[in-house]
Amino acid sequence: MLMSPDTAQGVYAELSFALKEGWSFIRYPEGFRIKPPPGSQARADFKGLLESEVWRIAQFVHYRDFVSITTNEDGSYTVVSKSDSGNAFQIVFEIE
């Protein structure tokens, strides 16, 4: 599932607006990888912080036709969204 150029540009603009200060992201062929602020993993409430950000961003950027949120073995999250018109992207929320 490769992300089309116009999806990449659109989701990039949306993430640039929606992500809170300190969070960063990079692009890769299927979508984006989002990293939490440096040092935040040490916080006791990090898991809750990450989950709440995953949920908030997924709600903000998703296509209305399909969205899934998966917890990966390493504790990261993957959001996948698709539209009936054929657009698709995924976002991985990394934990380190």
Binding site: G10, A13, E14, Y63
Partner: protein
């Protein structure tokens, strides 16, 4: 070179009889009648008068309005898409052509595929998009994306945002509201 048979007096009775028979033949088209008496075809001469009168209109385009369910010649065949009824072939009237790609706003801003998907899902109508861009042009913000391409963000006072690319294409739309949906005036 061909002789004008109508001008030869000796043939007059036969020609008159032929004209009379041809004129009464309701199953022939105008062009078939013209061919039978040695004349060339004319535009719109392929319709059979008796039947075409049933459709209450001379203009071929009328049919597409009055008989929207009129069968058409299947796509992929010669003249595919034209209306058909036996020997009839009607071309629909030439209306405004749809914008190529994923459509455009009334002001001519073209949608990208992503932009169209999100505008539909987020209740950003074409008119709302035009209004946001038009009313917030002076405060638009230029940005450069990961590929070095320039984008322009137009944002109204409620946070409804339209992002355009350098060609004026609609990259995306969003708002700070629930599920990024358009926030109307209170």
């Amino acid at each position: 070179m061909r002789p004008d048979l109508d001008a030869i007096e000796a043939l007059s009775p036969e020609r008159e009889a032929l004209w009379s028979r041809i004129d009464k033949a309701t199953f022939l088209t105008a062009n078939e009648k013209r061919a039978a008496i040695g004349y060339g075809p004319v535009d719109a001469g392929d319709a059979i008068k008796g039947l075409s009168d049933q459709f209450d209109g001379d203009a071929a385009g009328d049919l597409s309005y009055k008989y929207p369910a009129q069968p058409r010649i299947p796509a992929g065949q010669r003249e595919g898409g034209q209306f058909t009824l036996g020997r009839f072939r009607f071309r629909p009237p030439a209306g405004p052509k749809p914008a190529p790609g994923f459509g455009a706003t009334p002001k001519g801003l073209k949608f990208t595929k992503h932009g169209r998907d999100q505008a539909t899902a987020r209740d950003f109508t074409e008119q709302r998009i035009d209004a946001i861009v038009e009313n917030n042009a002076r405060t638009r913000v230029g940005k450069v994306d990961l590929d070095g391409k320039k984008t322009w963000e137009y944002r109204d006072t409620r946070g409804n945002t339209v992002v355009l690319n350098e060609e004026g294409g609609i990259v995306t739309v969003y708002s700070p509201g629930p599920e990024s949906k358009h926030i109307p005036k209170p």
